[in-house]
């Protein structure tokens, strides 16, 4: 008993601390959340999807406060892993499931393309001022292979007759991603498809060894923000980033030659055009239960006069069956995305074309019968 007295100060502060913490942890949920019947949905995955989801979730939460949706951008790979380990209710994935993975879970999962995005090629050439640079797959491949060294190279000039005298004799600083990224995968896939084999298949991937690095003119940036920062601060540099970043930071965006031969800038119209044409190729399934592994072939360098050549879908992957409350909540969210989601699309993203939206509608129907 005396010992307690001897340590009264210590015990007092400890109990104070504990009590405070207990109060916080017990009262905040009931204070703020209020409604005890909140349904919690959890997802994780693509950071690209995360931004658009944040916009949708914050507004959806105001519409349906009894449903909370939490999403964390841990990357498409980790997202898929966490989803299949049943740590999350859905995952956001830039690439659709591989054929192998799809087979493994066939019939139990639903894949939904949820929004369109694009990869922009950005550059920093002070002399060009407001004139837009034109590039095509072959020239871009040569730049990233390290074969084109100066901005006033013959091949670049040939694509840009109107401004060829403005192109400086300066070495091109070639910026790529230093971390593993879906954006890199899309970009390199585009290079491969549009360069007639100049950019080899083995250099397509999330994280590759860039040939230009060997020339000493290659730089790696971490994340989209990293690449933006380098290009913005390095004159005569070129890089690739998600369109939303290029728009947000006011970088100069190149016009890219699409499959139909036109030089296209990435915007909502051209991105949707690519999406529509991709749906027409027949390589995309019409049902969420289908195999989407051929999707890249359809959407990147897709046919069509207006199509922007580096467009991509991003997806939500869900189970076909959920406990009733969760199933209802997810269905409500998806319905809301179809009915009101288009009004809250972020710059740099584009809503799905009609035929592709049908996949989501189909998913809602399928979920109903399984829930």
């Amino acid at each position: 008993m005396i010992t307690i007295w001897m340590h009264r100060r210590r015990i007092l502060s400890l109990t104070l601390f504990l009590v405070l913490a207990l109060i916080i942890s017990l009262t905040t949920p009931s204070l703020i959340a209020g409604n005890k019947e909140t349904i919690h949905i959890r997802g994780s995955g693509s950071t690209f999807l995360q931004l658009q989801l944040m916009a949708w979730i914050t507004i959806f939460h105001k519409v349906r406060p009894s449903i909370t949706i939490e999403y964390n951008g841990v990357g498409s790979g980790a997202g898929q892993q966490q989803f299949f380990e049943h740590l999350t209710d859905f995952c956001g994935s830039d690439p659709p499931l591989s054929h192998k993975t799809w087979l493994e879970h066939k019939g139990r999962i639903l894949q939904l393309p949820i929004v369109l995005g694009a990869v922009a090629v950005v550059y920093n050439i002070p002399e060009l001022k407001s004139h837009r640079l034109r590039l095509d797959g072959k020239v871009l491949s040569m730049i990233y292979l390290g074969e084109i060294i100066y901005w006033d190279n013959y091949y670049i000039k040939r694509l840009n007759p109107g401004i060829s005298n403005l192109l400086p004799h300066a070495k091109i600083i070639v910026v790529h991603r230093s971390d593993s990224s879906g954006t890199t995968e899309i970009f390199t896939y585009y290079l491969h498809r549009s360069s007639d084999g100049l950019w080899p298949k083995r250099l397509v991937g999330k994280d590759i060894e860039w040939p230009v690095d060997r020339t000493g003119r290659g730089l790696g940036g971490k994340g989209n923000a990293g690449v933006v920062s380098i290009v913005k601060n390095t004159p005569y540099s070129i890089g690739y980033v998600e369109l939303s970043y290029a728009l947000r930071y006011g970088l100069d965006v190149a016009l890219l030659r699409n499959r139909a031969g036109y030089y296209i800038e990435p915007n909502t119209t051209t991105i949707i055009a690519a999406g529509e044409n991709a749906a027409r190729t027949g390589l995309l399934p019409i049902s969420p239960t289908g195999d989407f592994s051929k999707e890249l072939e359809a959407i990147v360098y897709s046919p069509g006069r207006l199509s922007y050549p580096i467009t991509c879908f991003t997806h939500i992957i869900i189970w076909a069956k959920y406990p009733p409350h969760k199933a209802e909540a997810i269905r409500d969210f998806l319905s809301w995305i179809i009915s009101s989601g288009d009004k809250h699309i972020l710059p740099g993203y584009a809503p799905l074309p009609g035929p592709v939206k049908g996949i989501i509608i189909r998913a809602i129907e399928l979920m109903k019968s399984g829930g």
Binding site: M1, I2, T3, M6
Partner: protein, 232 residues
């Protein structure tokens, strides 16, 4: 009457260097035994061997027999032994981050010999009065020992020891670094304590030895030179 402390043929080595040679000594109960000798003669070591504090030093080895209150020190529970024969160091070492009250109180509290707070208050007051410090600190019990002078701190250490109600006090040059006035006061304390406990005191000050000793032991180079009753 049995001696409070009896040492026979004590030989002690620290890291293979012999510090004490054939020490034999008797400290009678309720008397002040003074051990006197020049610096380095092994006085501190001897004192610390009595209550086994020397075991805290590295590389200690000894032979011989030491009996405290009739019992071989190796038969004692070492913590009980140190509580019964309390050692007070040469330089005052009160616990700097505890209050004056807590310094005196911690011994009894941790040895669980206190019933309640009132009891503890009584013990603390008693110990401080015995150490002739109470009047000087009674309004300042909540302050840290740092506010006290060297002499007062040494008396605080004595009070701290007294709070344990020991039977033996082992004092290692208690007034070596203390001013004359406090020295006088501490000697006064010790003289008064004689009636209640056995005191063994180490010093190199001959005058102090003459003032205090009921028995005098002279030690030099780890050997006992002589042991006398000062009256002789």
């Amino acid at each position: 009457m049995n001696p409070a402390i009896m040492i026979e043929d004590l030989n002690l080595w620290i890291k293979n260097r012999q510090i004490l040679h054939n020490i034999s000594l008797r400290a009678p109960a309720y008397k002040i035994t003074v051990i006197i000798g020049p610096s380095g003669s092994g006085k501190s070591t001897l004192l610390r061997t009595i209550n086994r504090l020397i075991e805290l030093t590295e590389g200690v080895r000894y032979t011989g027999m030491i009996r405290v209150l009739g019992k071989d020190i190796m038969d004692w529970d070492v913590y009980e032994l140190r509580r019964t024969a309390v050692y007070v160091a040469q330089t005052p070492n009160p616990f700097p981050h505890m209050t004056i009250y807590e310094n005196v109180a911690i011994g009894p509290v941790l040895h669980d010999i206190v019933r309640d707070k009132a009891d503890l208050d009584r013990i603390v007051r008693w110990a401080l009065e015995k150490a002739m410090l109470w009047d000087e600190v009674k309004g300042r019990l909540d302050e840290k020992p740092g506010v006290l002078s060297g002499g007062q701190q040494q008396r605080l250490c004595i009070a701290r020891a007294l709070a344990l109600k020991p039977q033996i006090l082992l004092l290692d040059e208690p007034t070596a670094n203390i001013d004359p006035e406090n020295t006088h006061r501490i000697e006064e304390v010790l003289k008064r304590l004689r009636d209640e406990m056995t005191i063994v005191l180490v010093t190199h000050n001959h005058d102090q030895a003459m003032r205090l000793a009921d028995y005098l032991v002279v030690i030099r180079d780890g050997h006992i030179e002589s042991s006398v009753k000062p009256g002789d």
